[in-house]
Subunit: 418 residues, 2 copies
Amino acid sequence: MAIKAMVLERARSAKEAAGVLRTTPREQKDRALERMAELLVRKDAAILRANAIDLELGEEKGLSAAMLDRLKLDRERLEGIADALREITALEDPVGRVDRQWTRPNGMEISRVRIPIGVVGVIYESRPNVTADAAGLCLKSGNAALLRGGSEAINSNLALVEVLRTALSQAGLPESCVEMIPITDREAVLEMIRADGYLDLIVPRGGEELVRTVRENATVPVLSHDKGLTHMYIDAEHDPDMAVKLVHNAKCQRPGVCNALETLLVHAAAAKKTLPLIAEDLKAAGVELRGCVRTCSLIPGITRATDEDWDTEYLDLILAIRVVDSLDEAVEHIAAHSSGLSEAIVTTNEQAAERFLNAVDSAAVYWNASTRLTDGGVFGLGAEIGVSTAKIHARGPVGVEELTTYKYLVRGTGQCRE
Amino acid sequence: MAIKAMVLERARSAKEAAGVLRTTPREQKDRALERMAELLVRKDAAILRANAIDLELGEEKGLSAAMLDRLKLDRERLEGIADALREITALEDPVGRVDRQWTRPNGMEISRVRIPIGVVGVIYESRPNVTADAAGLCLKSGNAALLRGGSEAINSNLALVEVLRTALSQAGLPESCVEMIPITDREAVLEMIRADGYLDLIVPRGGEELVRTVRENATVPVLSHDKGLTHMYIDAEHDPDMAVKLVHNAKCQRPGVCNALETLLVHAAAAKKTLPLIAEDLKAAGVELRGCVRTCSLIPGITRATDEDWDTEYLDLILAIRVVDSLDEAVEHIAAHSSGLSEAIVTTNEQAAERFLNAVDSAAVYWNASTRLTDGGVFGLGAEIGVSTAKIHARGPVGVEELTTYKYLVRGTGQCRE
């Protein structure tokens, strides 16, 4: 009950601040963002002191070296966080943009205008830089942010939030534009995701279990991010060099992320020639291959894939490979197994490419490009608060534009409903 | 368990059909819609027979005359339903439209293209015409529809769906583009709204309790419709005749709907002159007035409003009236009590109007026009499957455009992530 009261109180403050932000001009939001960037570096001592406590507690708890590294802040990393805020400052403000404008026969003028969503709840895990990124993206798009970070980073996060709030206040904005839940109990998450009436959107950033918990229990709308089960399909007609290069990039450039390749589909007519080239390249890069029967007969010595492999997000240097008899079979495999984020076809046949682009229902579908390119920055959309595999509101990168919604403004001269 | 299996089986069929609809050209969808309109009239005997059973059962159950009237179909109403389908046929197909297109420095071409959402679940109450409307709007936007109507109309709905499916099949499309849950147990609704993986969106159309149940239990995203608590604010400077006319239209033209006026706010400087004119007009129209202290002193003999009145959706010839001291006070009252659908300001002062349009966070905000105008048809957006008071994805009228989502198509020449 005490936790519920605390969560609702923060949510209420954030909602009040959202009322102010709704009509805050770009200049003032940008001034606050610049101030945030400045203070993060100037007040580094306080932040690093708090971070040292988290690191010490993390070591006591026996966190892995990788986890501790993710948690760690230093002067350089703070400067990186400040730079990210400066990049957000430079983005265009989507608020107030008119999507469309038209006049009805009765003379009333309708315009559809972009506006902030309101209060965005962001639930995330260990990296403290998310605190500043999420706060900055929400502020730029005119939303108040209610943050709930992971328990390992709680001291760092609270110190960061204090600095961000000081910057808000120095720019003449309510500190409550950025609120943080100071308690890391699971119960706080459950209260937060059911606080409809206060929160307008929840963005969970974390592992599968966090996302599932949020989706199953939330009454507030969730912009969710499933795992990333990414496919590339090599069509019958293709450039083998390009195929080798794109598979390599999609699998190896950073295997631990959601748009990294997990399953390769190869047309039977292409398999004999190109699969061995791909296999050779990947083996040299240390990738473990698991293939269907036909793949195994073409690349001796690799593991046989089981049914489970087609549904596994390895996030590692492992690749499942299946030979298919047609583009349609590839599309069907993708429909059955993909998480709907990032898929690609490699082909020199334009008709095949367009058929694939049309038929595959993923947030980003590529022709002759790497699935790793699904990213707000790479797309030129600016920094992202997350990646959506939802079907509604926003798909793929979620940046400042996707953190807005719209309303209709109607200007009349006394029009009535007949 | 049997119910769950049945719901999932229908959902699975709908999902398969959605895979076909994703790439179905406009001509074929339109042919199916035309065929639906034709068959609804040609096969009227079977539909009216089923409807007679519902009416008989309804009378036995003691449904009110109003409920029975809503349930009733006849030749003329079937022709109305067919006409509505023809109007949907004539709408532009949003699928395939390119929202935006750009080229990145690395040479890849990105386009953001509108696509169907997938499977849309529609849960509604008594009116059988919703069956055809919902199926038609989903089909036009390339979505499969999983329908679940009210128990009172079950025989009519099943007969309608049979006709719609025959039309689909005659147009060469899978019958499963329209699926209906034949069981009206509440359990079927609960299974349906948790069938993520099959369903992509739920649109509940019905009373507050239905919407609440759906929102609290769904894991599938919900495009919800709250009650409609609609405000009109008469500013200090205004044309009294226009004020009387707009209040009258917003309150009286059809009081039982969500964009009908429930609370009137009047600036103190305007109250003395204009409130008595409004009161006189509304009293003549049979409207019961409930006022704040200051309102009561200006219009003797009316009931004193309680706190509850400011949060009540009367859906009846009753109006709550409050005198406020400023535009800001009006905006604050609206922020605290509105359901966020439809709000209006009546003023001759452009600056005040723009301030109100900017500050009020409702789906449709009016200057000198009636709140009753919030409607897909009136806005020129075509037929609507419902009205959204959600903050994300779609606000206000939900028509074929809002029943689509987007994906990014990326055409490259071998681009990799650096």
